[in-house]
């Protein structure tokens, strides 16, 4: 998987670059809109991450130009502006997703993977398998080591979300948005409570725990 990153801030670019490389992506980075455009026009990419505020050609113009040249690479916008207007404007220009700075890297990664999955048009699987944990998406049944696990609707959604991102950290904000469609942080830890419930059902009777809390980052479901 090959990604294009257009970001002029050195520190932000370097942490995104490191994170993406650790996640197994090959990443080309450009610091200006012109360089970014050149790369986008000459190289094949699976997805592009483009900052809005760039020296020279700005992000929106860059995306417009890429789309005008009929390049279909999915694009994710990074921006420090959080207003709804900017979000809508970005999506109208031809970008596929919008992430506001500052962001959790886990969220960026999850969204990029979702973008690539969507654009590659991979068929939706009937079941998810992570180690001994198996989720039947059609029958809505979950088993771990052949033993059935009873989950309520919302617990099922959360586990499905964790399984789809197995091995990657999922932040609280992502869960809130995915499960409840809430874009702000309620002070009471509704996410913690739900994760606790799912964890007790998935891990309690097994010596090896699958759902882990990564302090400061979120939750991860993994084998081992």
């Amino acid at each position: 998987m090959r990604l294009l990153l257009v970001e002029d801030d050195g520190k932000i670019a370097s942490f995104i670059l490191k994170g993406l490389q650790q996640a197994g992506f090959a990443v080309d980075q450009a610091e200006t809109g012109e360089d970014g455009l050149h790369l986008a026009l000459t190289q094949p990419y699976d997805a592009a991450i483009i900052d809005l505020m760039l020296p020279g050609v700005d992000g929106l113009s860059l995306i417009e130009e890429i789309r005008r040249r009929l390049i279909k690479t999915p694009v994710m916008i990074l921006s420090a502006k959080r207003s709804v207007d900017d979000r809508v404007k970005g999506l109208h220009t031809g970008s596929d997703d919008y992430l506001t700075k500052p962001f959790a890297f886990a969220e960026l990664l999850a969204r990029i993977q979702a973008l690539i999955r969507r654009s590659s048009g991979a068929a939706e699987p009937n079941s998810l398998v992570v180690g001994e944990l198996v989720m039947d998406l059609l029958a809505r049944k979950v088993t771990r080591a052949e033993r059935p696990i009873e989950l309520q609707a919302r617990e099922f959604s959360l586990l499905e979300y964790l399984m789809r991102h197995a091995g990657h950290v999922v932040s609280k904000t992502m869960i809130l948005e995915h499960i409840w469609d809430y874009r702000f942080d309620p002070q009471t830890n509704v996410v913690d409570v739900l994760v606790c419930r799912v964890r007790s059902k998935v891990d309690r009777e097994f010596a090896v725990k699958m759902i882990h809390t990564i302090r400061g980052m979120g939750y991860v479901l993994r084998v081992s």
Binding site: S83, P186, Q187, T188, V193, G216
Partner: protein
């Protein structure tokens, strides 16, 4: 004055007003003069002709009584009495032989041919002849007498011309003063009329140069320009208010961010100092991330509150179903409430709609419910109730929690205020400030009543039609 500034002056309204005013003024004066000149001329001519006619009739009567001799004697008498002769007199027989001819000496020579050619009729006939020199004219009337002879009497127009030329001279000497008066009055009028405009310009200039508190001086005349000044001042007041609000919000935000930033910095610094403990470093890093997230939430919330309070928050207004809104919020906290063994109940009519920003209103309700859950001990009840009240929607969140002390009630809406008993709970102290700011931005109100130890009740009233959006 240089050419450039003269050119600029030419384009000012004041200059044009002055020009128009003095132009109209002078035109009026000229018309007035022309009219009185014509009147004077015609009345002088009338008097002259009357005198001539009178003399003619007197002489004709004399001729009738005592013939040519009587006329000559009368004329001699007149000459002796007045030493100067006022009239031209000619008496001719039917064969055009002149018998008597008197032309006052000082008049000089006249072209008398036309006078001599005049026919002898019973009517009065007038003719004017020019002098050989001096531009003066002779006005002559002739009358045919009974015996066929002709009597002609005339008078020079010199006297009349003299009066008229004097009149013109007076006018000429006055016209300069009139022009000056016209221009002066025009300039004064323009200056006076344009004063409010000049004040406006001065105010704008001083604001441009940074004196935000300068205002247009008012004259309380109530005219259009005064109204313009009033509106302009009102606009400036509003702008100043907004700037003040923004500045205040910025100060508050800067102040409120210092504490969490200090914590982050301190944590990171201590972790950097303890090189021997990798586990401790991880903890410190996690602390930093959590604290940063908190900081971000705080910043966003503070910005939302400030924007809502100063009226700059963008509200995306759309019909929002209150019942669905409450259901969402209750649903969000379902697991939390179950864990705490709290009974959360809701009752709302399904057809209750308000015009509001759905996302913001969800946040408001979630904040109220969040508080209720946090401060209600296990086994308690929380009720979410909504109903119509004329053109308003009323939304109540009631709990059986610890309640709020009476002296604390006015303070709970303040930013970052946290009551003594709420400090043990996780929170920013911004929830209720946001609730109030957002509800007020929607044109609604929020109130609280509480009995310490028995519970609190938050009542939210929203207009069902659109709130003010900016």
């Amino acid at each position: 004055m240089s050419f450039v500034s003269l050119d600029r002056l030419r384009h000012t309204i004041g200059f044009r007003l002055t020009l128009w005013y003095s132009g109209v003024f002078m035109l009026s004066v000229l018309i007035l003069f022309a009219l009185s000149y014509a009147l004077l001329w015609s009345s002088l001519r009338h008097t002259d002709r009357e005198n001539i006619t009178q003399e003619l009739h007197e002489l004709a009567a004399l001729y009738h009584d005592s013939g040519e001799v009587g006329v000559s004697r009368e004329l001699e008498l007149q000459q002796r009495l007045h030493s100067t002769q006022a009239f031209f007199v000619r008496l001719a027989d039917p064969y055009q032989h002149t018998h008597v001819l008197i032309i006052p000496e000082q008049w000089g020579a006249f072209r008398l041919k036309r006078v001599k050619k005049m026919a002898a009729t019973a009517d009065l006939q007038w003719v004017e002849v020019a002098a050989h020199s001096g531009g003066s004219r002779l006005e002559v009337v002739s009358l045919g007498l009974l015996d066929g002879s002709v009597l002609q009497v005339g008078k020079s127009t010199a006297d009349r011309r003299h009066v008229l030329s004097h009149f013109r001279a007076v006018f000429a000497s006055v016209i300069l003063a009139v022009i000056l008066l016209g221009v002066g009055c025009g300039a004064l009028l323009a200056f006076h009329t344009l004063r409010p405009i000049r004040h406006l310009i001065q105010t704008v200039q001083s604001i441009e140069s940074g004196t935000m508190d300068s205002r247009v001086p008012r004259r309380a005349t109530g005219d259009e320009l005064d109204e313009l000044g009033r509106l302009f001042n009102a606009m400036l007041d509003r702008i100043a208010g907004l700037i003040q609000g923004m500045r205040g919000a910025l100060d508050n935000v800067a102040h409120d961010l210092r504490t969490p930033l200090t914590r982050i910095r301190g944590t990171a610094e201590i972790a950097l100092g303890s090189t021997s403990n990798p586990g401790g470093c991880r903890e410190a890093l996690a602390d930093c991330v959590e604290e940063s997230d908190r900081l971000l939430t705080m910043l966003n919330t503070l910005m939302d509150i400030s924007e809502a309070e100063t009226g700059t928050l963008t509200l995306v207004l759309a019909p929002v179903n209150i019942s669905a809104l409450l259901e969402d919020a209750v649903d969000l906290y379902r697991e939390v409430a179950e864990e705490k063994a709290l009974a959360v109940k809701m009752s709302a009519p399904h057809d209750l709609w308000v015009q509001a920003d759905r996302h913001r209103l969800r946040q408001v309700v979630a904040n109220l419910l969040d508080n209720a859950i946090k401060y209600t001990p296990s086994g308690g009840h929380i009720d979410c109730i909504a109903y119509h009240a004329e053109t308003q929607a009323v939304l109540i969140v009631e709990d059986t929690g610890m309640g709020i002390a009476a002296e604390e009630i006015p303070k709970i809406w303040e930013r970052l205020y946290r009551g003594d008993r709420s400090r043990t709970q996780r929170g920013l102290g911004l929830g209720l400030s946001l609730v109030k700011a957002v509800v007020q931005a929607h044109g609604g109100t929020v109130e609280v009543s509480s009995t310490p130890g028995a519970g609190s009740r938050f009542t939210l009233v929203l207009p069902m039609t659109a709130g003010h959006s900016q």
